[in-house]
Amino acid sequence: MKKALAGMSPDDVQQAVIDSGMRGRGGAGFPTGRKWSFVPRNLPGPRYLICNCDEMEPGTYKDRVLLEKNPYLLVEGMILTAYAIGVQHAFIFIRRGYETPAANLRRAITEAHEAGFLGKNILGSGISVELDLHLSAGRYICGEETALMNALEGRRANPRSKPPFPAIKGLWESPTVVNNVETLSNVPFIISHGPTRFKELAKLPEASGMKLFCISGHVNNTVCVELPLGMTLGEIIDGPCGGMLPGRKFKGCTPGGAATPYLTADHLNLPMDFDTVAAVGSRLGTGGIVVFDSDTCMVGATLNLTRFFAHESCGWCTPCREGLPYVREILTRIEAGRGVPEDIDILAEHAKYLNYAFCALAPGATGPIEALLRLFEDELREHITKKCCPFRR
């Protein structure tokens, strides 16, 4: 931060992030520097920066670990980002339930204030940044950036229509940048070590930087580790995770949280980066890998995820509010051995048409459903023909 304030213009900071090629770590993987560049220059009135820490997806817990270990990184990253895009008031929107990270952040913010890194005229640079922490009332939809802004404004957490995009009209109708905890926490490194160094951290030439992976499921070590982008799925499971649980075989996993289509054993050699995972019909998402062994019923797993999404729908649009419970009902029946062959057609139809929902929640929820149909159709049919779950003992 001292380096930036002393020797870099806001544009330099932004350019460094653009050059670093960093893509957002919150799930969508949008290039961070480009997102910043959409904020109109020289527009009168305030602009805002929001850190999205509404980490609520099953299987994703990297932001929690990050904030439990080092909240200062986020505070510094936010000061740098605020400097780059000319923000004087930034917010951290943190999930209800993350009380420990919130306490850590509060302490970090107080300490930053005391050290003169926050508040008016930071280190005599003439730059002022206020940073406020907001503990969410708690809904998954608050992680959707426009719903988050509604929640922060004190409204119902329903998503807003885009356009206008937040960079033009966001919080209180002002230009707003919303970034993930991990994204912002990477900014200090990019500034201190330079964009090239950051880029080179990745294992693939097209990829850029390190990424937090949080792995859970049927592996020996369920860990949250920072790994270079481009490591293969197999390397991650066999390395930091210490391989599968004794006697278990890898069957599949979500590569990046509950809203990403499954990967299977065919993908163990797949380098884990945004584009490579997208190329096989899934998404790197948040890096929340949930590993399933060969004894896992994928219908049951999908049902479990769908239950979550159906419950967390905000209720704004019809497909999400009504379609997800529809899918949940069908999967419940199939899992209980009461499925009929026509159910598969209905599921397929939902996997397609739920994508026309208002925001990304329902399309995200179709990820596992679509992958279930594409990769595990025989398992589905077995449930229906045997009239029971073949994995239940």
Partner: protein, 630 residues
């Protein structure tokens, strides 16, 4: 003006028109629930999906969310779009109870229409439906939350459009609930619009509940008689009972909505106390006897007391037809006084306001909505013209400044949740800083000098007058240089009064030897009158009101008059004495009563009451926007 192609039809629409509206203009109706022209697009229901084939946006899109743009080629019949719309209906029907047979919205329900249109007929979903507890929303609005399809129209209307804060949306996912945040009746004076805006049967009219189906109703375009604004209505009647009133769209006047006073003011038409037969000294007589006696008594009075002892009194609630004929009757019967107002001040204020009105300087409610600066002169809008408060709110929502001049009531501004600035005088309002300023001036509290002052501001003014035809009455009062009844009585010359639909306190006429009244309301004067003639209510006749901005609007007969079947003495039902007419149906429009008196006094037969400057109001379509006659 963007040009686009929808289902192979090329159409050019004004910039900013969304594709759904553009399709409507091309004659293609795209089903939609959450979109409403008055509330805008929000993209919640996902029913208006269309396939965008060419142009800046491609693929399956919600047509309400996209403004029409040059080069768009759009299909409403694309299989994917059709399937999406079918699925939305199927999704909504997952939880909608199939209670159409006992639902009052049945027959006037968008969900029914679109479900049938979509072709969704067989239930595939095997789970249970969710259920909710209903709320008691007060005497007018029935709540049935199980029917809800979560289009969010009610919450958006109630909070955003009407500025209410007691009803809205709670919960999430499939437990989304629309209702009041705590127990009690709806607080907004515009709550009745929930009945119109709900696309299905969540909110239905409590008083009209279980009384009729949509196709049973007698309906006609009408105009609200309960203030001077002239909001357009569709009253609905069955079995000689006025059951409910719905809003009729008129963008120049009330837009899409009504106030609760107008919507729920039906009971007086059905009042069992309503006088329904001519009476002579409290005895029921035939029309001919009553009319002959009245003409005779008027002649006698002239003979005994000399010409000029009779006062003819009209009112601001009598339709224009009667009001114009009243002046002609005055000439024929040698009346000394023609009065359109009972109260001197009321007359002065109305006439002063109307005298200053020209086509250019008068603001309609549409002008108020489009204004960027509104000065309200000492009046309570919820009292003098409730829908005007809603118009002010729409302007305020678009950024207009609202000034309350000279201690105007604050209460109404809280009811519609707007921010206002207080100023002492009209001069303190910075009109010059704004492009489309308007003044709203009431006549209930402001004296004539003050009203005149409002006109001097040089700004378009909306005057609030004292009745549905107050402007027409004031124009006639000015033309015939009439006095008020109070002034006439003060002269001491009045020996006989003929009051047609006039609200005269009975004690005012103490000592007047002869009083005749014609009315449809059971007023005190009706009971005291020596001769009484029953007239039809506005829904039982064709007629014209001239509203506060000088807009002549026709209303059509909705129902034939008669005692409502509900409430008839069971002993006389079924009828033992057979008749070709319904009991209590022998009422005549006020203008017809006046015309018959004129004929008896030697006048020509009146075929068409509106003549001279009023002639152009004869043939205006009742479902149009009306015409200004200033």
């Amino acid at each position: 003006m963007p040009k686009l192609t929808i289902d192979n039809i090329e159409i050019e629409v004004p910039a900013g028109t969304n594709v759904l509206e553009a399709a409507k203009q091309a004659g293609i109706w795209i089903p939609h629930f959450c979109y409403h022209p008055a509330l805008g697009s929000v993209g919640a229901c996902r029913l208006c999906a269309m396939k965008f084939i060419e142009g800046p946006v491609k693929g399956l899109q919600m047509s309400c969310m996209l403004p029409a743009q040059d080069g768009m080629v759009v299909s409403s019949t694309d299989p994917e779009a059709l399937r999406m719309r079918q699925l939305v209906i199927e999704w909504l029907m997952i939880n909608h109870p199939h209670d159409c047979p006992v639902c009052d919205a049945g027959g006037e329900c968008l969900l029914q229409d679109y479900t049938v249109a979509s072709g969704h007929g067989i239930r595939r979903y095997k789970g249970k439906k969710h259920t909710f507890l209903n709320q008691d929303l007060g005497p007018h609005v029935q709540h049935e939350m199980n029917r809800c399809i979560e289009c969010y129209r009610c919450a958006r209307y109630y909070q955003e459009f009407a500025g209410g804060d007691d009803l809205g949306v709670m919960g999430s996912a499939t437990r989304v609930y629309f209702g009041r945040f705590k127990e009690g009746k709806l607080e907004s004076p515009f709550s009745g619009n929930l009945l119109d805006i709900c696309p299905t049967g969540v909110y239905t009219d409590k008083k009209a509940r279980f009384r009729a189906r949509y196709w049973d109703y007698e309906m006609a375009p009408s105009v609200c008689p309960w203030c001077s604004l002239g909001c357009n209505t569709i009253p609905a009647a069955r079995y000689r009972e006025l059951l409910k009133t719905m809003a009729r769209r008129n963008d120049q006047v009330n837009g899409w909505f009504l106030c609760d006073r107008g919507r729920f003011g039906n009971s007086q038409v059905n009042d069992p106390e309503r006088p329904r037969s001519p009476r002579l000294d409290s005895r029921e007589v035939s029309w001919d006897v009553a009319l002959d006696m009245l003409v005779g008594r008027l002649g006698e009075l002239n003979q005994i007391h000399g010409e000029g002892c009779i006062a003819l009194v009209g009112s601001t609630r009598m339709a224009l037809e009667g009001a114009t004929l009243l002046a002609q009757l005055a000439g024929l019967c040698g009346a000394g006084f023609l009065c359109y107002y009972t109260d001197q001040e009321e007359g002065d204020r109305n006439v002063t306001a109307v005298s200053r009105m020209t086509d250019d300087n008068t603001a309609s409610m549409a002008d108020v909505q489009a204004s960027d600066c509104i000065a309200v002169l000492n009046c309570d809008l919820l009292d003098e013209g409730p829908m005007m408060a809603l118009a002010v709110r729409q302007a305020w929502r678009k950024g207009a400044r609202v000034f309350l001049v000279g201690g105007s009531s604050q209460e109404w501004t809280k009811t519609v949740s707007i921010e206002v600035s207080d100023v002492d005088t009209l001069d303190a309002v910075p009109f010059a800083d704004f492009k489309r300023p308007v003044v709203i001036c009431g006549t209930l509290r402001n004296n004539p000098a003050y009203i005149e002052n409002a006109a001097k501001a040089g700004v378009k003014t909306a005057h609030l007058l004292s009745g549905p035809n107050a402007c027409g009455a004031a124009l006639l009062a000015k033309e015939h240089e009439t006095t008020s009844l109070a002034e006439a009585l003060a002269s001491g010359k009045v020996k006989g009064v003929l009051a047609i639909e006039a609200d005269i306190p009975a004690e005012l006429l103490t000592g007047i030897p002869f009083v005749a009244a014609a009315d449809w309301l059971p007023t005190d004067l009706v009971k005291r009158a020596d001769i009484f003639l029953p007239t039809t209510a506005w829904v039982e006749m064709d007629g014209t009101f001239v509203n506060n901005e000088g807009r002549g609007q026709r209303f059509r007969r909705v129902m034939n008059p008669g005692l409502p079947i509900k409430g008839l003495d069971p002993a006389i039902h079924p009828p033992r004495i057979h008749s070709k007419t319904a009991p209590g149906s022998d009422l005549r429009p006020a203008w017809r009563v006046i015309a018959q008196l004129m004929e008896r006094l030697g006048g020509d037969k009146v075929v068409e009451p509106l003549t001279g400057r009023w002639e152009k109001l004869r043939d205006i379509p009742p479902d149009g926007e009306g015409i200004r006659i200033l």
